[in-house]
């Protein structure tokens, strides 16, 4: 997406019921774009949940990657999307603990949700992205360099980074591929992964800040971007930067 010039664009955000995805979906929709939001929950009233009429929600459980890709595809057809300007594949899950004690189903689920589903969704939406020379944005993690107590999670995020690296070259001139690696963010993910953070949470980036930083990175078409925890700290001391985001 070049600039917010007022033209309504078609946007997909996965994992949008919560955390960074929720804020991204709302932020784009509040600027008049058409947003297709996905999540694993079933929502009884999506207009009320998001509080904006131009967000359409579809249930797409990424633990079943092919089904999730088909659900996204079908929803875009129902919405009459003839092209896709921006897709932010943000949904992810984690498990934390001693890797030798990691249950097989946790390994499989993280790989399905964090890697297989984004791969399959990317393949499915490719023609729509090409139609608009759109932007595919994958949400990785700073853990992608390796982390002892998040071994499988780190692996899936490294997989996404590698996927982005090679696909960017393949899709050159047809669609733009980006990967953004947020550092630890104050979302529900850590609790869901079984990690009690205590005071460490204070150091984490707020989801609002992460969402804004992601949008900035999307506007700038950055190939890759790390949002480290001191990004939040730096922003705290230079409030001046806020207006631009």
């Amino acid at each position: 997406m070049a600039q917010d010039t007022g033209k309504a664009r078609n946007i997909l955000v996965t994992g949008a019921t919560d955390g960074i995805g929720f804020l991204l979906a709302k932020s784009y929709a509040s600027r008049g774009h058409r947003v297709l939001a996905t999540g694993r929950q079933t929502l009884s009233d999506d207009a009320a949940y998001f509080g904006l009429p131009n967000i359409t929600y579809v249930t797409a459980d990424q633990a079943f990657p092919a089904q999730a890709a088909h659900a996204v595809d079908a929803a875009m057809e129902r919405l009459g999307f003839e092209g896709l300007d921006l897709a932010i594949l943000n949904a992810g899950v984690g498990w934390t603990g001693d890797p030798a004690a990691e249950p097989a189903e946790q390994i499989a689920t993280q790989i399905d949700v964090n890697l297989s589903a984004p791969v399959m969704i990317s393949a499915t939406i490719a023609p729509l992205l090409f139609a608009r020379q759109g932007q595919l944005v994958l949400i990785g993690s700073t853990a992608a360099k390796g982390q002892a107590r998040f071994a499988t999670y780190a692996a899936t995020k490294a997989g996404l980074a590698g996927f982005a690296r090679s696909l960017r070259e393949e899709w050159q001139g047809r669609a733009h591929v980006q990967i953004i690696h947020p550092g630890p963010t104050r979302t529900a993910m850590h609790t869901k992964a079984g990690l009690n953070l205590g005071l460490a949470r204070m150091m984490f980036m707020s989801p609002k800040r992460a969402s804004k930083a992601i949008q900035k990175s999307v506007r700038n078409h950055e190939r890759q971007r790390k949002l480290s925890w001191f990004y939040g700290l730096r922003a705290l001391f230079s409030r001046a930067g806020e207006g631009r985001l």
Binding site: P99, I107, A108, K145, A158, L167
Partner: protein, 253 residues
């Protein structure tokens, strides 16, 4: 020494198996196609045991782990892998599902299971097979590259926690190998003689495992690619596109 190799029927796995048997070790050979391995097991007079398992299927992997209950392994080489090459968006989703299960879910499930269930000997070692694509990228096989990057980072992540159980970890980053499987995925006009012989690679892997090396970039070409990929990551991926993706003739999966 007692060793286990996944994907032992063909290619690199087969070369590793034969080398280990030649050196007088006991080997558990895991693969989905076992006819040929069964013959080899008979000839080996008990040194080789065959376990049939489908690495694309978690239930089958768990069954394989259960069949190893009585074993204490010194060396495990998680070698089984497949590829999918061509235009990313043209390859069917089912091929990606299989690729990710075999190349990623399987080795992670095996590694966690082997150490978690106490099937590894103290001072034992697990070898993961990543790819040189980890340092240079691989347009034309972006999902294969994703699985190999994931393997490399998993191996790096578990090195410390596994050390507590006395288990070492080695990751191998091979470039092109002269196997039937690699041949199918190679671009048009790729030079056969520039590919590494599976036998030679098997020797290097076993030597690296014995010495407790953390990483192996086999051969001088791999070493050079590693340096170039480190210094000029984006340029190298662009080169890979020209060398491979632009020359691919159709999709293979």
């Amino acid at each position: 020494m007692k060793a286990l190799i996944t994907g032992a029927a063909n290619g690199l796995g087969r070369a590793l198996l034969e080398q280990l048997l030649d050196d007088g070790h006991e080997v558990i050979a895991v693969d989905i196609m076992t006819e040929d391995l069964d013959r080899l097991a008979v000839q080996s007079r008990g040194a080789c045991r065959v376990v049939m398992a489908d690495m694309a299927n978690v239930t089958s992997i768990e069954r394989c782990l259960r069949s190893l209950r009585e074993d204490k392994l010194d060396l495990v080489i998680l070698n089984a892998g497949i590829s999918a090459t061509g235009k990313f968006e043209e390859i069917p989703l089912g091929a990606y599902e299989r690729l990710i299960h075999i190349n990623l879910t399987a080795p992670l499930t095996m590694a966690a299971g082997l150490v978690g269930q106490g099937l590894m000997q103290r001072k034992g070692r697990i070898v993961f097979v990543s790819s040189l694509s980890h340092v240079v990228g691989y347009p034309g096989a972006s999902v294969y590259a994703a699985t190999k990057d994931a393997i490399a980072i998993y191996a790096r992540s578990i090195a410390k926690p596994f050390r507590k159980s006395g288990v070492g970890v080695t990751t191998v980053f091979p470039g092109p190998i002269r196997t039937e499987h690699a041949q199918r995925h190679a671009p048009k006009g790729a030079k056969e003689n520039k590919r590494m012989e599976p036998k030679e690679l098997a020797r290097m892997i076993l030597k690296a495992a014995k010495r407790g090396k953390k990483e192996l970039y086999p051969g001088s070409a791999a070493g050079m690619a590693r340096l170039a990929g480190y210094l000029f990551p984006n340029f190298m991926t662009r080169m890979m596109r020209r060398i491979i993706f632009d020359k691919l003739d159709g999709n293979t999966y």
